[in-house]
Symmetry: C2
Subunit: 72 residues, 2 copies
DNA sequence: GTGAAAAACGCATTATGATGCGCTTTTCTG
DNA sequence: CAGAAAAGCGCATCATAATGCGTTTTTCAC
């Protein structure tokens, strides 16, 4: 996944949960600034930073074989 | 996945490919220091840093639902 | 067991990610 | 359309990830 794809996935998930960036940022313990940059794919976050946000969204990241395809 | 799990996965994959840390680090364009820390799970790498290494190893990371279980 | 290769790590430095603040732009809602 | 809410973003600062170098420890082949 590219950073853009990650950002888009986070955004979709956030909207699904009807959260504003501000609220998600607060729940995750990151700044609004950091979150907006991340959602737009214009950031190179640390694993911790990303994990904090994924955690609130009920998501996680996983290392897999490159050729493996995503489930529907 | 925790950082320890990620590190262990990278290490296993590297060994499978019969690479030394030094060689993998060079191929990935990171320092030996950064790689050793990462494999031991004692690092909080950026997504870019992690991606560079995963790329050489034929791996990638993906954002998924937290409850989804890993394939065998 | 000995020696060499590989990996771990302490410490200082450099590069860059995260934050803070405020202003601008975009997106909703009525 | 008008106003408000949400999101985007420029810039300076702070925090910390990445590097560089040398030394120590562990691993492995003989």
């Amino acid at each position: 996944m590219t950073k853009q794809e990650i950002g888009e996935k986070l955004r979709q998930r956030r909207k699904l949960l009807r959260l504003r960036q501000r609220d998600l940022a607060e729940l995750a313990g990151v700044t609004l600034r950091g979150l907006t940059d991340l959602e737009r794919g214009e950031a190179n976050p640390t694993v911790n930073q990303l994990a904090k946000i994924l955690d609130v969204l009920g998501l996680e990241f996983r290392v897999v074989e490159r050729s493996a395809h995503a489930p529907s």
